[in-house]
């Protein structure tokens, strides 16, 4: 007898967690892409640090 019966509820919970995981991973990739685009555009300037100002 199989004691590890996978109820439909567990399947749904897994799909939900998997979906959320993929969404979060995609968001990380998107943020990385956005950051790269922002820092490589011509008009991007870093705020001078206090040491550099001195």
């Amino acid at each position: 007898m199989n004691f590890r019966v996978e109820h439909d509820l567990h399947k749904r919970r897994f799909r939900r967690n998997l979906g959320l995981g993929l969404v979060l991973a995609s968001f990380v990739v998107l943020l990385f892409g956005l950051t790269m685009v922002k820092v490589t555009t011509d008009d991007f300037t870093m705020q001078p640090t206090s040491e550099a100002r001195d």
Partner: protein
Amino acid sequence: MSDASLNTVTSQTGEADFGDYFALLKPRVMTLVVFTALVGLLAAPVGVHPVVGFAAILFIAVGGGASGALNMWWDADIDRVMKRTRSRPIPAGRISADEAFAFGIALAGFAVVMLALATNLVAAALLAFTIFFYVVIYSMWLKRWTPQNIVIGGAAGAFPPMIGWAAATGSVSVESVLMFALIFMWTPPHFWALALFMRSDYENAGVPMLTVTHGRRVTRVHILVYTILLAALAVGTGFTAVGGPLYLAVALVLNALFLIGALRIWRRDEDAAEADGYAVEKRFFRLSLYYLFLHFGAIALEAALVPYGLGGW
């Protein structure tokens, strides 16, 4: 897993799937938001980096989805009554109303902040106003109060091209207002045609659609009047910076067909409509979907042809 623990788990209800949360975002409405926002972005005279453009469209879509979730939270009571909406996640019991509210508010805040960071404050402010307009002005206030709910509430669905344009340019201009006006004027005939053949649904839910409060004859007249105004606006847009020969040709054909459809609806009485199962009204509704898609498709095509010296005037 023991039988006891299995029974405990089984007694819990409302375990939502990932798809249920996605359904809260009204994906079909979202496709219209994505498409029109993309056209607004493409038609803008300022180019944006593809990654920034993609992010902008995504956050506009998420913002639109968030307002959809908040609308489902507020309208859960009438969604339970209407045949068309009975299987949505909240009335079906898969997601609680409180959960949908939290989900909608969190996504709305996320989308507005991210759009501001990815593009500019004007686009983010427009998105925030769109969400506010759809949820508070339309869903909470107008929808259950006035038969003009669709007319004024339609503005919420008309903002996306304006937001797309603002994401690229950082401002609002005549062209983006014209794209807004095109969807704004298209919404009433589109929804009233739907209401003509879905009347009992709205009646049961107590939503004061024009068909319920003023009858079908008045609704037919309204469809014709709005279609005439829409046709003038749509063809007139062809002579502006977002238009061009291609757009004008598309607009002339589509508006002629749309006007013929509206005239047919206006000339019919209820006996004739019921006799053929509202065939003319259903055809007009289907045409209205192509109408918007092709108008905005033509605007996008005009913009895409500009680098080759072909698009626009």
